[in-house]
Symmetry: C2
Subunit: 313 residues, 2 copies
């Protein structure tokens, strides 16, 4: 198995990315290697700084970089030698089994849509964000956590299925409880979007829909998968992330708030596309990249993409 990582992506690239990959390389299962995509000279220099001397990290040279404020679609076209474009080329050809970057999310989505493409039958790819539980280390999956700011009811219906497969495959939850995030528990509550989505979901035989939950139910673990549009999901998830620095500011050292640290998961897969693509956090440091490598491995190992394809056949 070959895990592709964009060495040039993220606020602290390439050094933090290389450091994270070197850290991960010490724990790789047999037969797994990591391919760092990016500027060979820079990567070699970073590897030297980390004192790396193993044989599970490879380099795939890419001489250009798509930076954070590049226009995603234009940059993807105009920078064919960038690490993101080269990475997607390798993934499309099967030279790597997954591709992950903490760089320009827009460009990652352009690459995903143009070179990997949506699985037939899926209306919109989606990303899931982790909501920590008090009772265990298995997070609740909140999706869409930011890809689709404007949604149609049918998208939300499918997010329920994608989230259900994700929670079962990645977290081992049998028959995950899927809920719709709403402003009331009663059937007729919500905005226009959510009311229509509810009507689609309530008779679902594709997954275990348990109804509406409210904002105050989220942390109380009423559901395993929580569905919402990408605007709401992104606001809720970023708010959740802020509880970790907030707890520091308040001088609270409680294990639970440590779980709100995005570095634990390192990144999230784009659900509904033909190969494993993972989006990392722009502010990723070595710890987050370390996690991103293992998130990639888990997704390939458990054949998440294959299971989604099967469900939409």
């Amino acid at each position: 198995m070959r895990i592709g990582i964009d060495a040039m992506g993220g606020d602290f690239a390439p050094q933090a990315v290389v450091a994270g990959v070197v850290s991960a390389s010490k724990f790789l299962p047999a037969g797994v290697s990591v391919v760092l995509v990016g500027d060979q000279t820079q990567i070699e220099s970073c590897l030297a700084k980390e004192g790396y001397s193993g044989d599970t990290i490879e380099i795939a040279h890419a001489g250009d970089v798509i930076v954070m404020n590049d226009h995603p679609a234009k940059a993807f076209q105009q920078k064919p030698d960038s690490s993101i474009v080269v990475g997607f080329g390798m993934l499309a050809k099967g030279e790597i089994d997954s591709f992950a970057s903490a760089g320009n999310t827009g460009a990652m989505m352009v690459g995903t849509m143009f070179m990997i493409k949506t699985i037939e039958g899926i209306l919109r790819p989606v990303i899931s964000g982790p909501v920590p539980r008090v009772s265990s280390n298995v997070p609740i999956s909140l999706l869409d956590s930011g890809l689709n700011a404007d949604c149609k009811p049918e998208f939300l219906y499918q997010f329920g299925l994608l989230g259900s497969i994700y929670a079962k495959t990645l977290y081992g939850i049998e028959n995950p409880k899927v809920a719709l995030l709403n402003i009331g528990e009663e059937d007729e509550k919500g905005n226009i979007l959510v009311k229509a989505a509810f009507d689609l979901m309530k008779y679902s035989k594709d997954y275990n829909f348990i109804g509406n939950i409210e904002g105050n139910d989220l942390l109380f673990e009423k559901a395993d998968v929580v569905v919402c549009d990408g605007f709401t999901g992104n606001i809720v998830l970023k708010f959740l992330e802020s509880l970790h620095p907030l707890s520091h500011k308040l001088g609270i050292s409680q294990d639970y708030f440590g779980k709100f640290n995005y570095e634990i998961e390192g990144g999230t897969p784009v659900l509904g596309v033909n190969a494993p693509v993972l989006i990392g956090h722009g502010a990723s440091k070595a710890e987050a990249i370390h996690s991103l490598v293992f998130s990639s491995i888990r997704i390939v190992e458990k054949d998440l993409v294959g299971k989604i394809k099967l469900a939409f056949k």
Copy 2:
């Protein structure tokens, strides 16, 4: 000044309501009385239980009750003797200076719209929810916190002005910083609604618009007033409220999480209507009702309605 309180509204009415009002009566400024609207016999019995013997609490008899699962509009028409309908009648005639209830919110809104009416020029009334600050006890105002699940850009524009007047009048903030809750800080980010609202707000001369803020900025006090649609606002606010019981569950005793207790404010005024109407929390106990009385007094005293009327003249 006569503060109207629905004695029959809320999960623990009438006893908790009467207990809260009795508790508040011990601290009323000179010239202020509270009018309890509801079943005279029941209220008298509750007052006796509380050992009340003062002369600042009056009773306005109403023989019927709109319960939580009554259909708001139908109940308002079919129960003319209910405490909510009687209360709105008194407010409309000027027999009380404000009316507050922890009962059926839908019926409160029907009463507000039919008997008190929206101030001319205001597209939609709105309610503001408090987001606690670490640095002080003056909350950030988040609005719409739940009245309008579906919004148009013009509504959001006006929420900015209403929130600005609210923060200045109630919390004494000069030239409040107004932000739009969004999924990115850049101008062009957001869903269709928020992008269009941003275009209206960015040239605002009506208030001090500072741009977009993200979910993780909310608790870090970047703005005094945060604008969003009522669906998003309700989810965020209910989520915030859950941090108080969560901190209990985790055994954290941190003053800050105590601020997430909705009982501190007791209720929130409907902004943009012709008289002070306050919506309390359905689960209000005596402490919340105590706060609701003083929130009502502050709003009448500071002439919040008059200031809003002036701004929309």
